[in-house]
């Protein structure tokens, strides 16, 4: 559906995107995971044709460059900034953007109704959006991007600064769109979002794609062993073979198969009050790939 080949973009001395190669299959949800300033938004704008690349190419569904209006008609975009008119109502915003996408008459009315339902804003459709909460504005921002049922939807940090309730609503909306077969490119710096929503995740840092695969494959390739931490109820028998040291009554060790290791310890007579298994996640993958924590980057 979308192919980015050798994309490069600089702003003066800053290299924002440095040779990005990505391919998104139809119906797939691809996440771009990276810290702020990693080049995710610039990559999206290059994909949309809003920015011209210094090098490389963008091709959409074999149709050509997104600078072509006919190609652009198949794109939907929800920018990181709230790209809505606060002096207009949700209904007026949607009708305006719908008309720009070529919708008219009943098609437009139907699309507006569906978008409002998706955003959960049917009851507030006539109110000026300046009176909306941040979460409601985010939902409308997404609705404006999906109004014309685009084949490819590019979402740039669509949950930035929203409350948990609105975030869940947005997740459900995006999952519903994915279920309909919409191809989605989703940028975020929250690993939980990438893990929940994306079929594949591209780890992006300093304008480069460091790895791109399914979450499980990324964990397998770049994640460390799960870590088991056991709070002991009593001192272990002297004969017990322990997989790690005991500190402050806690046994801590890394292992590939935590369930098997725990069964073996129990067989050796160890008793514990509580245990915790810490599995690798995308944070661990990012740390492994960059040497930095995703949150601290």
């Amino acid at each position: 559906m979308l192919r980015l080949t050798g994309l490069r973009k600089t702003f003066g001395a800053l290299v924002a995107v440095d040779g990005v190669d990505l391919e998104v299959a139809p119906g797939e949800t691809l996440g771009l995971l990276g810290p702020n300033g990693a080049g995710k938004s610039t990559t999206i704008k290059l994909a949309l044709g809003v920015l011209d690349p210094d090098a490389g190419s963008v091709e959409l569904a074999g149709l050509g460059s997104p600078r072509d209006p006919d190609v652009r008609r198949r794109l939907g975009y929800a920018p990181q900034d709230l790209a809505i008119y606060e002096e207009l109502s949700a209904d007026e915003n949607l009708r305006f953007f719908g008309r720009l996408q070529g919708l008219h008459g009943r098609d437009l009315s139907r699309a507006v109704d569906e978008a409002l339902a998706l955003a959960g804003l049917v009851d507030r459709r006539r109110d000026r959006t300046g009176t909306y909460s941040g979460g409601m504005k985010r939902r409308l921002n997404l609705a404006c991007a999906t109004l014309h049922a685009p084949a490819l939807l590019l979402l740039d940090e669509p949950t930035a600064g929203v409350d948990p309730q609105s975030r869940n609503h947005l997740f459900e909306s995006i999952e519903a769109l994915a279920a309909r077969g919409t191809t989605i490119v989703y940028t975020t710096h929250y690993m939980e979002e990438a893990e929940r929503l994306c079929d594949r995740v591209a780890i992006v840092d300093h304008g480069r794609v460091l790895a791109c695969d399914s979450v499980d494959s990324l964990l397998a390739a770049h994640g460390s062993q799960p870590v088991v931490e056991v709070e002991l109820a009593e001192l272990p028998p002297a004969s017990a073979k322990l997989p790690g040291p005991i500190e402050d009554g806690r046994l801590r060790f890394g292992v590939d198969e935590p369930e098997l290791a725990l069964a073996e310890l129990r067989a050796q007579g160890l008793r514990w009050r509580s245990l915790r298994v810490q599995r690798a996640d995308l944070e661990t993958v990012f740390l492994e790939l960059t040497g930095r924590s995703l949150r601290d980057a």
């Binding site: 704008k45 006919d70 652009r72 900034d81 207009l88 996408q101």
Partner: protein, 421 residues
């Protein structure tokens, strides 16, 4: 075209909800027009058509008050003030002149006894016309008593009798003169009683009241504005148009900063279409501003339309021009603050040299020539052409062509700059 209209409609809807923008586009120009119209038109308390004269109040008796009363029906406004203030008022320009009635004879026939009025008139030597007028009014008032007795028989009889009685007791008139005057007043009393001289031929007007002056209104052929508002409203309308151009330019920058512009860029429309939508909205708003302000001017101050077709052409050309100017201004400055500063700086300069602040007719010739580079100058001329200059369509074509040129240049320059954004 429907996409351009969709974009324009959205901007007009946003404008209709922006109270501050509406203030600058409609209310401020109206206040401007009223303010400058009142200044140049001398409107206000209505006293400006009368000559204000300070009268020294010390020593005013019944005779002097009667003298002053004869000035009531003249275009003179009398203000009684202490002697110490009278000359000072004239010096400070608060009064045109001052009067000190040093001596005013008590009765109409005093002149036959050798008594004359003595009046001090203080006035700036440069005010020759007012001085002449006031001297005329004062001379008329001095002889007003005589005129009264010769236009009213009963008053004449009473006055002649009283003059004769006063003469008989008076000590200051020489005996020989007193005898002559006594005979004269007695004859006069007899004359007043015997002959009705107050009727003209065939019962016409009193011949003693002076010449019968018949005033005929002859209005001069119109070659200028009917009133000051005819001048101030086109000027004010231009401020509305400048506010409109600057306002729409800012909406473009606001779209950039708020993120909606990126969404517009990703829609299946050309970038120039976005700017053309703004230009169309600006042109429609500009035409609306002209119509609303002219209607307000017509309803409140009688601003007229001498050539409707010319005015319609002028409005259309002005709207196109400032729509084009707004396109160019849209591409200046990356922030709203920067855009507003630069845009208003440029527009104020254009207004200054184009007659938007001070009418061009009060400018020196060289400055009027410089004004030709400002669309403000041509828009004012075109609008005035329809309001009071009575331009034919042929005569308004030059300013209209200039406006269309400025508009097209602004649009092209704006589109070229847009490529670099």
């Amino acid at each position: 075209m429907s996409t351009i209209w969709t974009l324009a409609k959205k901007d007009l809807l946003l404008l209709s909800r922006d109270k501050l923008a509406l203030f600058w586009m409609l209310l401020f120009p109206f206040v401007f027009a009223v303010f400058f119209g009142a200044i140049f038109g001398g409107q206000g308390d209505g006293s400006s058509n009368r000559i204000k004269v300070a009268v020294v109040q010390e020593g005013l008796d019944a005779g002097k008050e009667a003298f002053l009363a004869r000035l009531d029906d003249r275009p003179v406004e009398l203000v009684r003030v202490p002697r110490a203030e009278a000359a000072d008022l004239v010096r400070r320009g608060k009064a045109s002149a001052y009067l000190d009635l040093v001596r005013v004879p008590a009765d109409a026939f005093a002149v036959f006894r050798g008594e004359t009025a003595e009046i001090e008139l203080g006035i700036d030597p440069s005010r020759l016309a007012e001085r002449g007028m006031l001297e005329g009014f004062l001379a008329e008032a001095s002889f007003g008593g005589l005129r009264e007795v010769f236009t009213d028989r009963a008053a004449g009889i009473a006055a002649a009798r009283k003059a004769r009685e006063d003469l008989s007791v008076g000590e200051d008139v020489p005996l020989a003169q007193r005898v002559v005057l006594a005979t004269f007043f007695a004859s006069l009393e007899t004359f007043f009683g015997a002959i009705d001289f107050t009727r003209g031929d065939a019962g016409g007007a009193n011949p003693m009241a002076g010449p019968a002056i018949r005033t005929v209104d002859v209005t001069r052929a119109r070659s200028g504005p009917l009133n000051a508002y005819d001048v101030s409203f086109p000027q004010a309308i231009l401020w509305g148009l400048l506010g409109c151009a600057a306002g729409f330019a800012q909406t473009f920058v606001r779209e950039r900063s708020s993120g909606t512009l990126v969404r517009l860029w990703t829609a299946p429309i050309g970038r120039s279409t976005v700017l053309l939508g703004k230009a169309l909205a600006c042109a429609i708003a500009a035409a609306g501003i002209v119509v609303v302000l002219l209607a307000a001017g017509a309803l409140t101050f009688g601003v007229g339309v001498s050539r409707p077709a010319t005015l319609a052409l002028a409005i259309a050309a002005s709207a196109f021009c400032f729509g084009g100017v707004s396109v160019l201004l849209s591409t200046i400055g990356r922030t709203e603050q920067a855009n507003a500063g630069i845009a208003w700086g440029l527009l104020c300069l254009l207004a200054m040299i184009g007659g938007g602040m001070v009418p061009q007719f009060v400018m020196p010739a060289w400055m009027r020539q410089i004004g030709a580079v400002s669309p403000v100058r041509w828009a004012i001329e075109a609008l005035e052409g329809g309001i009071w200059r009575s331009y034919s369509i042929g005569e308004v074509l030059v300013p209209v062509a200039a406006l269309l040129g400025f508009g097209a240049a602004g649009m092209v320059a704006g589109m070229l700059r847009l490529r670099r954004i």
